[in-house]
Subunit: 140 residues, 6 copies
């Protein structure tokens, strides 16, 4: 699939692209949006939800970019690592923070598998509203 | 594999468990450590690295717990979701923050696949020190 | 590992390669088979099962190619995305269908993690033959 | 996180829930939506995009449900497997189709890893607009 | 999907089940095969390939069971962890070996993500037949 | 992130690098360590744990390298596949063993998803110390 030529794109696409440019105060959008414009419904849907969630909210924008980078590394999405690391740096992330983030990502992927491997039962205090914990009994 | 009985555990194990209790100011450790004690080298290794990385550093401890939760959801590790969500709440995470975190996790997993699907080339500004970007040519 | 030189390959390998060529009515096989020929048992096994399952059956062949593409994107297998997207196009997939497929893949990866994050209990009507649903109790 | 009590939910939530009920012609929504209502922005975003993409379009609705099931199996999301298998059956999927779907999912997950393992170069005909293929050279 | 009742199964299914029983010298097969019998082509295909690959070969059977367990943990497949850990024990695996295996699985999942995160270029000596390494240039 | 220049690195980093060189009897370390040196705590942590676990132990070193390769393929980590395949060859792995390993990885990824798809209940004999198996009831 090729990127959409924004100069000749439909009004539906242009409206989203213009909103991205205005919201981010940039003259051009990055490649992700030019490719995603091949599916105008997902272009609008993705932009609208990212605009709503990734801005200021319950969590600060830098924290959310770091979470995005962590997931992108875990999923091995090279484009996403590059774009969200750049976004994190633009929002003030330092080298020390990026390196510490990478350390957390490594450790979480390790302990996730150790918890799987040992089939560790969830401690009752971690889910105080749950019924009594039963080992086994799982059908899966 | 069964959890190790800490009352009769080796000095090597007991030293780590005692350090966890002292560092966290708790009387007992959660199940993860009792199972991991079956491999005392990994018990020590995991605790020492978590102690070093998850405490105060370049990133604040709550941010790191939220990153841990995000990865645990992406990897579908139920134990890890429960324990690190509890840890995040203990460090002050609100319901609004947890819900927003879940939203970021959902969106990142979506856009990771959209970027894969369209094979979006990395924009040069995201990796300013890289050589010129070449589409194609990849053998993978 | 290098691709096997089919001109000098063993009769065991040649028999499979010839069947692929005859079944697909092509003069040469694509790279996947040349590499997989390094393990002749898996070459035969993989070809025989793909031949049985991916042809006409309960589902039409195009639907099955689209499912293959969806999984390949989710797993980030670049070779598989390329080869199965080409196969889907050869079986009639349009750009509009490919773009809609990508949208479904994005959304499914998003809602998969939202369902994980909230630990949503399965509604009884989704598994009418199951015993009553119990929240909690899970040991994992 | 607990499900939202829809009887006392905000107008923002109620509007989405009512649209789900009306669109699906049901009296109640399944658990996913009751939990997702904890984050009303994602509730609206997820519903609006699923409504737009999963209905009739370039691909028929049953095909899209099957793709959803395939991804949910690959990601091991139990809730999603249950809900989208039920949806596929409601749209006419037979046991034979479900079983064949499972076979495709198994095979795709196998060949995805075989292609990774052998680092199979993409055949030029699979990406006719790409520049010449280069083996190696990849830094990843 | 329910397990197939083997007492009334088709000759196609019975032939495979009988071969499993004879090969393993058991009176009954485990649940996996009873469910997979819903798709007789995959039942035959899966059994034939496992029979060919998992027996004595270039690698010894215990090593291959341990590899199976490692992948099942990484993919979080509870059934597969249980069945292949039992198979590994039946082939002589000790607790010390299982615990060390879990340690390797944890570490590999950690360093996989650290290598991703830093986009570490492959050292030329690891792929001596490749062309010169180029950093960047990747379009993904 | 760029690799650390080891000629001017801190004593903390140099001590680890020197230990890697001495343990492996090499003049230089591979790229992974030069990048990981950006986070000296993880450099030390990762090396110390790999040194402890990957050497002679309950499992022989070649077996552990093969497990590492299997996980790296499953996670699609190209660097890790290259470095650990090279390490496995240095420890004596033959082409026949590597090819058989790839076959096991393919099959395990297939049967992992088939077991997920059919929600196969764990056979009681696979977990003899567990309570009676219950189908259903799972909330996930």
């Amino acid at each position: 699939m090729k990127p959409v030529d924004l100069a000749t794109a439909s009004p539906e696409i242009t409206a989203v692209i213009d909103d991205i440019k205005a919201s981010r105060n940039v003259d051009d959008v990055n490649n992700f949006w030019k490719y995603l414009a091949n599916e105008p419904r997902m272009l609008a849907h993705t932009w609208n939800s990212l605009k709503a969630i990734m801005g200021p909210g319950a969590l600060d924008p830098l924290t959310k970019e770091l979470i995005y980078v962590a997931i992108s590394i875990t999923n091995n999405c090279d484009y996403c690592m590059a774009s969200h690391t750049a976004a994190a740096r633009a929002k003030g992330a330092t080298d020390a923070q990026i390196n510490e983030l990478f350390a957390v990502v490594g450790l979480a992927n390790m302990t996730n598998r150790l918890a799987n491997a040992y089939r560790v039962p969830v401690d009752p205090q971690f889910r105080p509203n749950d019924e009594p914990v039963q080992r086994s009994g799982s059908d899966r």
